[in-house]
């Protein structure tokens, strides 16, 4: 019988290539990530210079840079940026905090799941930007409107990732922690939080994006400051270079926040490097 068990092994390479190459030191590794953005900008500039791209369709990077420099020098950019950042920060704090709380309650407790999750699932599909007319009635047209929109935008990615992160924790580790005499709070701190951390980071990444998105809409309602307002104003007057400048600012913020998150991840998730290598 065993004769057939071991028969006819298919022909195959003895050493297939690995799915992912090792993480050893690569020369210039750090700068390799800069290659494609730099290339992108170069192609864009070339297209603009050669006239393939009309400046109305998309102004050249150098033109955008000049506009940026002008607005930066007279302080306009800094004022707008600061206001936008404040709004985004406050909204993220409020929406993210609430999402973390509710996500944890729903992820950890059976009852919390039954009570909290269904309304959130319903609300999830409410495009919060469609709520603007109601929000105007409820919270007015001032700063609170913008902050509410950001908070709403940031809520869902963090809620869902918290929930999923908690649900995906290896229950065997929770059991081990229980047998070590850890109470609920200690288990949260030592097992659930670190286990859900990668998911939380992902949620934060998405939430930051959602925050900006909400802000760009929120800053179109009765705002006098903010990058969203700056772009809106430029849009109305068809100042494409300022519109693109706004987008570039957003992109840079994206890169910066990504960098910050990468550093934070590297610090708190060192243990995963071990997992990789093993």
């Amino acid at each position: 019988m065993s004769g057939t068990v071991l028969a006819e092994a298919p022909e195959r390479a003895a050493r297939p290539a690995p799915v992912r190459p090792g993480r050893r030191y690569r020369p210039g590794g750090r700068w390799r990530r800069a290659a494609s953005p730099v290339l992108l900008v170069a192609v864009w500039e070339a297209a603009a210079r050669s006239g393939v791209l009309s400046p109305e369709k998309l102004p050249a990077p150098s033109a955008v840079l000049a506009t940026g420099w002008r607005l930066a020098r007279d302080g306009t950019l800094a004022t707008h940026l600061l206001d936008s950042l404040t709004r985004a920060g406050l909204g993220l704090l409020i929406g993210g905090g609430l999402a973390l709380l509710l996500g944890a309650v729903a992820g950890l407790l059976r009852l919390g799941d039954d009570l909290v999750d269904p309304p959130v699932q319903m609300a999830r599909m409410l495009p919060h930007l469609g709520l603007v007319p109601l929000l105007i009635i409820w919270v007015g047209i001032g700063e609170s409107l913008k902050i509410s929109l950001v908070a709403l935008g940031a809520f869902f990615p963090i809620y869902f990732n918290t929930y999923a992160g908690i649900r995906d924790i290896d229950e065997r580790l929770v059991e081990a922690a229980r047998t070590c005499g850890l109470g609920l709070l200690a288990r949260l701190r030592h097992v659930v939080l670190p286990g859900a951390l990668p998911a939380l980071f992902l949620g934060l990444r998405l939430a930051i994006g959602a925050a900006w998105l909400s802000l760009v809409v929120g800053e179109q309602v009765n705002a006098q400051t903010g990058i969203g307002f700056l772009m809106m104003e430029a849009r109305e007057f068809s100042q494409t270079d300022v519109v693109v400048l706004g987008l570039v600012v957003y992109a840079l913020l994206g890169l910066l926040s990504d960098l910050a998150l990468r550093v934070a991840e590297r610090r708190t998730l060192t243990w995963r490097r071990g997992l990789r290598a093993s």
């Binding site: 081990a176 922690a177 047998t179 670190p194 243990w271």
Partner: protein, 243 residues
């Protein structure tokens, strides 16, 4: 089907009692009514075939299985070493051992526990950086450092080489003599069972199918003729042909 322990009448109060423990996964019944008492300070070895339900029983005794029926009571504190090491991957070795520990000199106690299992120099390693046997020893240190009244050990030395295994067995014996904790030791190694236990149980068909007191002194060696007889009897019960 002798499921009651013969020691029920001895003065040492039971640290663990389990009555009519049953557990089924869907249609298959894994535990069909297990009764078990472990007296204070008693070491009981649990043997049984692969898939006979040893780990399942251990989880139930540790209070981790909410779908089992029957009654289990642990008097005092219990610590568990699982069949897999179950170290938290995001905590360094020393922090894994210190998990949930309080009281004075936690760091010192952790140090000493790791030294006992021969891993004093791996305190700051991540669990993912340990070899199989090293991880298992950390898990043992994590249980021992809590000085429980009852140790539940699921093949704690399964991944250890002969020498390290002997050392760990010696450690367990010494600590037990010093502290008098009770233990339920799941093991595949009949000699290990006879070297360490006061009593050996065989789990088969969902019940404790065999109970064998091990009336050997504190200094036991496999060369003891009584040891050999017990060994043959146990292997026989497990279905292993002995010469």
């Amino acid at each position: 089907m002798a499921t009651r322990t013969a020691r029920e009448l001895t003065p040492a109060p039971p640290v663990l009692t389990a009555r009519a423990v049953r557990r089924a996964f869907g249609p298959t019944t894994v535990l069909a009514g297990v009764d078990l008492d472990i007296a204070g300070g008693e070491v009981v070895a649990l043997l049984g075939g692969s898939g006979s339900g040893k780990s399942t029983l251990l989880r139930i005794l540790a209070g981790l299985d909410r779908e089992a029926t029957g009654e289990t009571t642990v008097h005092g504190t219990a610590a568990v070493v699982f069949q897999e090491h179950r170290l938290l991957p995001w905590k360094r070795v020393a922090h894994n051992v210190a998990l949930g520990l309080s009281g004075p000199d936690v760091a010192g106690r952790v140090d000493r526990a790791l030294a006992e299992v021969g891993l004093a120099d791996r305190q700051r390693a991540w669990p993912a950086e340990l070899s199989g046997g090293q991880a298992q020893r950390v898990a043992v240190a994590r249980a021992l450092v809590r000085a429980p009244d009852l140790l539940l050990l699921d093949e704690p030395f399964g991944a250890l080489d002969a020498l390290t295994r002997l050392r760990m067995q010696g450690l367990l014996r010494r600590l037990r003599a010093e502290h008098g904790f009770a233990a339920l030791l799941v093991t595949h190694d009949v000699e290990e069972a006879l070297l360490l236990a006061d009593r050996a149980l065989v789990l088969d068909g969902g019940v404790i199918a065999e109970e064998l007191p091990v009336p050997l002194g504190p200094t036991r060696t496999p060369d003891d003729p009584a040891f050999g007889a017990l060994r043959r009897r146990l292997l026989d019960r497990l279905g292993v042909p002995t010469p």
